[in-house]
């Protein structure tokens, strides 16, 4: 089954990315995790995302395009990256989610991916 691991991080976690005192351990942890999950041969795809302040949100209402600066909703923890993995069951997916650095300081959501639609 395919699952999406959705990593979330708080503003403070995002800040570690460029903080000289913390960036090494931050990127070191993510690098190791990404390497391990790639080595396991279970990844379908996966990427990290730039911080939420780079986000732009679009809505179309009554044919009018509304564009606003920022993510769709302000939240304490925002999506910072994802992997889609192909593993036998939820327990295996949860195991990989638990290994993510984000699970130790924020959280990781595990969601089954929709099976392909019938033609």
């Amino acid at each position: 089954m395919e699952y999406m691991l959705i990593f979330t991080e708080s503003a403070a976690d995002y800040a570690k990315r460029d903080n000289p005192a913390e960036m090494q351990s931050y990127w070191g942890a993510w690098g190791a995790y990404v390497n391990a999950i790639e080595q396991a041969g279970i990844t379908v795809t996966g990427r990290g995302l730039l911080p939420p302040d780079t986000a732009t949100t679009v809505r179309v209402r009554d044919g009018q395009r509304q564009v606003h600066d920022g993510p769709y909703a302000e939240a304490k923890e925002m999506i910072s990256g994802f992997f889609i993995i192909n593993v036998p069951d939820l327990d295996t997916a949860l195991e990989w989610a638990a290994r993510s650095p984000s699970s130790s300081y924020s959280s990781t959501e595990v969601r089954p991916v929709m099976p392909p639609m019938a033609p």
Binding site: M1, Y3, P88, D89, L90, D91, A93, L94, V110, P112, P115
Partner: protein, 412 residues
């Protein structure tokens, strides 16, 4: 064979084997409980149609499994079940069918079912009901009435849990040694919840007996998990006193005042043996400690007084292990008995009041300790609070009587 006889045979098979049949099918449908249930329900319906003409088969379970298996394979062909390895299903089914014929039995996989029902990915409020429905075949209406929710609401909760199992791919498997301890905890909690739900009243909906069946089953299958033995011992101790909890007039009798001749000695004996076995495994836990506390009370059977000092020490360990409110209140009460109401009251006062506003056991304990301290006005306030928060008529009446005694008269 007539229809009434068929009905009786179908019912007997359902009562005896429902959980085993379902567990067996679910294990072979990739853990898809809902589809396994549908297939089994259809098989039971088919039995009601066919058995009056053909007679009840020699091995009704084998007949039901074969029929349910066909439904599962049909559902799979129609794309209603998603199974990763389709062939695996068919193969497993066929070997199973032959095993059934050879042995007259089929493997009992209800343990896997317990672990699915109490999987941490399932809504905690659905775990106990799911277990009762799937493992024991308790009907949803009875579960709903025990949990004090409408049958529709309970039905939705169960359906939601089963769709989550299917959609999220919760696997049908027994956790490996690394995770077993943690995962067993969820199963134990769900079984314990079945025992405690609605146990205030001795209503017909009470699920105490079902909880004991589940605890015994778990203990039997996981003999090296000490907490499984602890839970069984605890439930047996509590159940052994059921008849003594109310007197002849239906009044509530607190544990220290119960007539021990009304306790069930067989159950207490089994509880003691089970707890001793669990303790030998050398891993203490919440349920073993709670059972040990009950075990101290049970020594009254031998005629001696209750050692409140021993109970207080066990509560001390319990609080250190699981600092739940109930345990901390039990500790305060035991300290009150062992070392005087003043000590008990101090322990009670250490609890933060915020979480206790609507917690009945706190107010009942507070009232009792204040009464012993002869702080009458405060005791009366606490009694009123405890009475107002009581869920059981017998408990309410007991507290009302205590309050009256405290005021120094008979009934007000």
């Amino acid at each position: 064979m007539g229809e009434p006889a068929t009905h009786a045979a179908v019912e007997a098979t359902a009562r005896e084997s429902y959980g085993r049949l379902l567990a067996y099918l679910a294990a072979r449908a990739g853990g898809d409980l809902a589809s396994a249930e549908d297939a089994l329900a259809e098989a039971f319906l088919a039995a009601l149609r066919h058995w009056p003409e053909t007679g009840v088969p020699e091995r009704p379970e084998a007949w039901l499994l074969t029929t349910a298996r066909r439904r599962l394979i049909d559902a799979q062909r129609r794309g209603q079940i998603r199974i990763e390895a389709e062939d695996e299903l068919r193969f497993a089914m066929e070997t199973a069918a032959s095993a059934t014929q050879a042995e007259g039995g089929f493997p009992d996989e209800r343990l896997g079912l317990l672990f699915i029902c109490a999987h941490p990915a399932i809504d905690p409020a659905a775990r106990t009901p799911l277990m009762l429905q799937t493992v024991l075949g308790v009907d949803a209406a009875r579960i709903a009435s025990a949990f004090l929710v409408s049958p529709q609401a309970m039905g939705q909760r169960l359906v939601r849990a089963k769709s989550k199992i299917r959609a999220a791919g919760v696997p049908f498997r027994i956790p490996g040694p690394n995770e077993l301890g943690e995962r067993v905890g969820f199963v134990l909690d769900a079984i314990y919840a079945a025992y405690t739900v609605d146990s205030a009243e001795d209503s017909e909906a009470a699920l105490a007996r079902e909880a004991i069946i589940l605890a015994r089953f778990l203990h039997h299958h996981l003999p090296t998990e000490p907490e499984a033995g602890g839970l069984l011992a605890l439930l047996l101790h509590c159940e052994a006193r059921r008849a003594a909890r109310l007197d002849a007039d239906g009044n509530y009798v607190p544990l220290p005042e119960q007539d021990v001749t009304r306790w069930n000695r067989t159950m207490i004996h089994e509880a003691e043996i089970t707890l001793a076995g669990a303790a030998q495994l050398g891993r203490m836990g919440r349920f073993q400690l709670e059972a040990a506390i009950q075990s101290v009370h049970a020594r009254r059977l031998a005629g001696g007084p209750v050692s409140w000092e021993a109970i207080a020490l066990l509560y001390e360990a319990l609080v250190r292990h699981t600092p739940a409110l109930g345990a901390r209140i039990g500790r305060a009460l035991a300290l009150g008995k062992a070392r005087g109401a003043e000590v008990g009251f101090v322990a009670l006062e250490e609890l933060s009041v915020e979480a206790l506003t609507n917690y009945q056991p706190y107010w009942a304990a507070r009232a009792e300790l204040l009464r012993e301290l002869k702080r009458q006005p405060e005791a009366v306030v606490a009694f009123d609070r405890a009475i107002g928060l009581s869920q059981s008529a017998a408990g309410r009446e007991f507290l009302r009587q205590r309050r009256a005694d405290c005021l120094g008269g008979g009934s007000p």
